[in-house]
Amino acid sequence: MKPVLLSGGTLVDPSQKLNEPGDLLLIDGEIAGVGGSIEGPEDAEVIDCDGLIVSPGFIDVHCHLREPGREDVETIATGARAAAAGGFTAVCAMPNTDPVTDNQAAVGFIVRQAQRAAAARVYPIGAISLGQEGRVLAEFGEMVGAGAVAVSDDGKPVASAQLMRTALEYARTFRIPVIDHCEEPTLSEGGAMNEGIVSAQLGLKGIPAEAEEIMVIRDILLSRLTGGHVHLAHISTEGSVELIRWGKERGINVTAEACPHHLSLTDESVRGYDTNAKMNPPLRAAGDVEALCEAVKDGTIDLIATDHAPHHYDEKEREFADAPNGIVGLETALAVIVTNLVEKGDLTFSELVDRMACAPARIFKLPGGSLKRGAAADVTVFDPKLRWKVDPARFLSKGRNSPYSGMTLVGRAACTIVAGSVVYESGIPVRTRERQGRGSR
């Protein structure tokens, strides 16, 4: 493997409070030199990063890669390539596959498929319960031994408080987080969107914010009871933010994530019955979006995750109430955050890198998340100013279900490096980037 020298970029790495121009040298899959002007070895591949930000690789702790079971909508290989194109050097794959990833053999399969893909790293998440049926605990120990980094029944809420309690207790042995999809199922049953004035006008059954918040506080209290680490997936409401803040102030072992779509869109997007605005939890009201953005800024929400959920075109092309939940997000996440938070002054690039790279590595105890010498050479190089129009037909993901289709967003990955190897480079040759970028404005 050739050494790689990333030359002339701006290094943004909150793990060492770095935010200044400087070079970065990668040798043998590790960070070998950071900062200042570096004279690389003779054989180093030099990538000109003028005008670009060089940061620890982004890590998405929440995506659905659909393999095994729905290889027609995504595979681990296409998902890992889409991740790399979005600037992610690693993703965590949720276990709601078919069959469910609830045993060591299934976890091992994902690890092997990811190695074969040779794009972004893929870390499996195991199920909490066998078949995600909410009854019998899955074998956490064996799944962790095979490579699982967390457990979750995501897609389905853990309805039983007793099962959630046991999972939090049992997970402590393996030092892994238990991720919960917070949804009180009797309150949300049949719901297709956020409950509010828009659902009332459209005649669609709503899901109240309280369906999420009841489970958020339940999980926080169970974490207090057990000392287990609960990680709350895709938080969508202002009330949830307040409850998480309450838990953190008391030192309870709770962490939380928010998705780019919940930070940028409201339930107004559902008017017109666009099924690409349908996901679970649903798009909420403007006040929720505002509270979530503040929580990402102040750290109440620890990290940003995509909940990337590809669906077949035909499945989304139907009556709203019958369409499946979920949108693709890997290839738009960075741009949605830059456009909706950074450009509006709600978040700095340092904070963006922390929430998308450092915090996920720290909380899920994964390699990467830092450009310190000796760390894994997982690096994202992105153009913070590039404006581009979202065209789902050009996604590397098999999924096309994006609510951002046709929108012009700012910020895009230029180069993604995993363990010192370039796994993605944008089509624009690096040395002519500036001229091209200007031309497209």
Binding site: A200, G203, Y273, D314, E317
Partner: protein, 336 residues
């Protein structure tokens, strides 16, 4: 071409007050046709209309069919049972197949909110929403409003209360939009478990007790109570509903003034409305049914490109009203 209403009638939310008045005014001359011995004019001769009913309906389907036939259109009824729909065909495929047969209009009734818009966005034919899920039922709203206008004249400031299951009622939504746009003072009354949580934001008055609603209202539009609401646990029983929210002679008498009674049908006598009220002197329930045909004729005529001022002439027997019907298919500009 796009008529004064646009390509489709999907709901009253998207119409202006002037457009609603236009439909009502156009319905007036059409009322008379149904009173003739020969109840037919040639205004839509040569047009093909499909009545696509994915949900059971008697009244609305028959009313549309009469409206179409009295305008001389060729009509086909498709119901979900016994069609390719029951074999698992998707809505979009059903629509495309119908359109491939070169039809001019689709009247759709579907259990999913948004189904009419879904169809309208994907085919060039005019689409009329005959009820989509719990969203809107615009022609019912229009016929209710026409019936009120027959009695009240201008609806500005008139006090109309919609009673019952607002949460699941497409009729309620269309009435609220339409009446509000015409300046009426609109209220709702029903158990809170059957009102949308966000009802405060609809800009209507809310009465928790039917007695208060009756004290206030000049007209009550009494909605049908669906029996599945009891099994779903929204309210305990039909018996209690009648005792707390039922419209009875006794309750109306207490108001000591005439209150107009509307009901979109079919009625549950003895549940939401007592028989002596339904059959009483202030009930306009059958007028609603009569007006339904006229309103639907007006909507069909206007969507087909008929000129409102020529409705009178069209009624007379010529085809003068069919401005621009031909060549409509050619223009992609139909889509809005």
């Amino acid at each position: 071409m796009t008529g004064t209403l646009g390509k489709d009638l999907l709901g009253l939310e998207s119409l202006t007050g002037d457009q609603i008045r236009l439909i009502l005014d156009t319905a007036e001359p059409f009322k008379e046709i149904s009173e003739r011995a020969i109840k037919k004019v040639p205004a839509l001769r040569g047009s093909t209309i499909v009545n696509l009913f994915f949900e059971n309906s008697t009244r609305t389907r028959i009313s549309f069919e009469f409206a179409e036939k009295r305008l001389s259109a060729d009509t086909v009824n498709v119901s979900a049972t016994g069609s390719s729909v029951s074999k698992g065909e998707t809505l979009v495929d059903t629509a495309r197949n119908l359109e491939a047969m070169r039809i001019d209009m689709v009247v759709i009734r579907h259990s999913a909110s948004g189904a009419a818009k879904f169809l309208a966005d994907r085919i060039q034919s005019n689409v009329i929403n005959a009820g989509d899920g719990t969203h809107e039922h615009p022609t019912q709203g229009l016929l209710d409003i026409l019936t009120l206008r027959d009695r009240f004249g201008d609806l500005k400031g008139r006090r109309v209360c919609i009673c019952g299951d607002i949460l699941h009622s497409r009729v309620a939504r269309s009435n609220i939009w339409g009446l509000t746009k015409l300046g009426a003072d609109v209220a709702v009354c029903g158990p809170r478990s059957l009102l949308p949580n966000a009802i405060d934001e609809f800009g209507v008055r809310i009465f928790d007790r039917i007695e208060e609603a009756i004290d206030w209202a000049e007209a009550l539009n009494v909605l049908r109570l669906q029996f599945e609401r009891m099994t779903a646990g929204y309210i305990p029983s039909a018996r209690e509903y009648n005792r707390v929210f039922g419209i009875s002679r006794e309750r109306l008498d207490r108001a000591q003034r005439d209150i107009l009674i509307l009901h979109p049908g079919p009625m549950n006598r003895g549940v939401e409305i007592d028989s002596d009220v339904a059959d009483g002197p202030h009930s306009v329930i059958l007028d609603q049914v009569t007006n339904g045909v006229a309103v639907r004729m007006a909507v069909l005529y206007l969507l087909a490109g008929g000129k409102p001022e020529l409705a009178e002439a069209a009624k007379g027997g010529g085809e003068a009203g069919r401005g621009g019907r031909r060549g409509r298919r050619g223009g992609g500009g139909d889509r809005e």
